[in-house]
Amino acid sequence: MSYEELLTKLALEDERFVVMTAENRALVRNLPAKLGKRFVDTGITEQTMVGAAAGLALRGRIPVLHALATFLSMRAFEFIRTDAGIPNLPVKLSSFIPGFLSDGNGPTHQAVEDVSIMRGIPNVTVFAAADEADLVGMLPAIWASPNPAYVRINTRQTNYNHTPFEIGKAEVISEGTDVTILTYGLLFEQALVAVDILKTQGLSVGLVNMRSLKPVDEQAILKVAKTSKLVVTLEDHFNTGGLYSIVAEVLLKNQTTANVMPYGLDGKWFKPALLPAVLEYEGFTGKQIAEKILGHTTNAIQPEIATPEFAE
């Protein structure tokens, strides 16, 4: 099932759903015909869309909002904080092309601080999907919750068979004592590649799909910190405020520490190009990740990375 199919199904079953977009229809092309008045395009007005969503939520609706990740999380930031966060209204934000998924657009479109700023708002929950199956598995619970929610949309395919989603729980893909990669979103597919390479090098390797970033699965982080010699926080996000920071906060809160390698963007935006080239240039292919962790090159072959279709 695709994101659009899921949204269509849920919205047709439940009159409370209102689908909104600030003129970003890539994920919802067929919904205007299906939902009629319950599809609202406010034009290129992220602030007005979020404010109006708060008004709709006051009247008992569950608005699901669509816009590019940077504009949704940053142009409308104060509206999310003030109109959805303070009153804790169920405004559901579907954030399109977050992180590296903005590929060739350039820094204006690079949401690589969105997790940081969204999780800083009380009441706002934050999620990221490893692939479309993960996304479709997590959204019913997220949309049924009473809180505002920010979801990094990822509609790529990995063929991984995910376990059922629960808010506040990570998905443990594998456990290992030498190195464990904690990741979320798009980089899950490269993490799978990295894990295979590390295993062929004889290491005991763990992988965790964090997927619920706020609330976060503290027990999963603490367990990995205790049992794995090295913990890697892999994310297409600045190291500041994202998963690396989340792990640091959890460890400090529990008065413990671990050998943690941050594997994110270190204080700079990434080189714009098509996605496979971005990953290669920035050092985020599975092979590069594995070799950085190992500290040496290997003769492993990097599988081809699918180029996303242009989606504005």
């Binding site: 609202v40 602030q47 008004g55 006051l58 003030t82």
Partner: protein
């Protein structure tokens, strides 16, 4: 008519009493008083018994700093115990410089300008979706119109033909400590809204007959956002502070409050010595 005047007089007394021991935005509260009194006491279908009714009207106060006028009105129409106004700025209650939903009758918190036009728009949109015929009013300050989000909301309301939504501008000619026309000129304001697709009426915001004339013409035009520009006087009712840039946020001493209450009743103009908060 005499009833509304009487209510407005009492609301102004409440505002003056709240302008001490920490103070309040007295100028903006007094300019909006007649407007708010008219809307709650006569025009809108909002009362203490129907707040949970989805078919009642709504009023969003986007220029939240004039909330003393709203609380004063609530006290006079039975939405709030007048005794609670004595709790202004006390942690024992939730009556502070901007509105919040812990007070029954407040639709939404405000204080950050330019937000409630879109929130009100969302409520109006939902009413349209459900085929309701209740009205949604959003009161904006004129200085607030500097915020681009206000104009976004006007565009979007027009696009969605929200003729159940009324934006009311309290046109008191000042923003904080400056005249609007000296900082970011707004005139011709009527033409600006018209050019953005709204149907506009401009009236004297202290004249109840004029307010009736405008609001009774609702909906002004089918499929268009209604805009009422209410020309008002900052500090209305107190000649010693009327239309003055330096009487925005005031924290008067006890003697001044007593004197201002007499001034409101038509007695001698007060000699004010209290400093006012000047931010520029």
């Amino acid at each position: 008519m005499s009833d509304l005047k009487d209510i407005a007089f009492k609301v102004r007394q409440h505002i003056i009493r709240m302008s001490t021991d920490g103070g309040c935005f007295v100028g903006a509260s007094l300019s909006a008083t007649d407007l708010i009194v008219y809307l709650y006491a006569e025009y809108l279908n909002i009362n203490k018994d129907n707040l949970e009714d989805p078919n009642r009207d709504y009023l969003f106060l986007s220029k939240g700093h004039d909330v003393p006028a709203l609380y004063g009105t609530f006290a006079e129409i039975g939405l709030m115990d007048p005794e609670r106004l004595k709790n202004h700025l006390s942690t024992s209650d939730n009556i502070y410089w901007h509105p919040n939903t812990k007070i029954d009758g407040i639709e939404f918190h405000s204080g950050s300008l330019g937000h409630l036009p879109s929130v009100a728009l969302g409520v109006a949109l939902d009413i349209k979706m459900r085929g309701g015929n209740n009205k949604v009013i959003c009161i904006l300050g004129d200085g607030e119109l500097n915020e681009g989000s206000c104009w976004e909301a006007v565009l979007v309301a027009g696009a969605h033909k929200l003729d159940n939504l009324i934006f009311v501008v309290d046109r008191n000619q000042f923003q904080a400590n400056m005249a609007t026309e000296d900082l970011i000129p707004l005139e011709p304001l009527h033409d600006k809204f018209t050019a953005f697709g709204a149907s506009v009426k401009r009236i004297n915001g202290h004249d109840f007959d004029a307010l009736r004339g405008a609001f009774n013409a609702y909906p002004f035009e089918e499929g268009k956002l209604n805009v009422v520009i209410a020309d008002t006087v900052r500090g209305k009712g107190l000649p010693s502070i009327e239309a003055r840039a330096d009487r925005w946020f005031c924290n008067f001493n006890a003697e001044e409050v007593e004197s201002l209450l007499k001034e409101l009743g038509g007695e001698e103009v007060t000699q004010l010595t209290s400093e006012t908060l000047v931010v520029r």
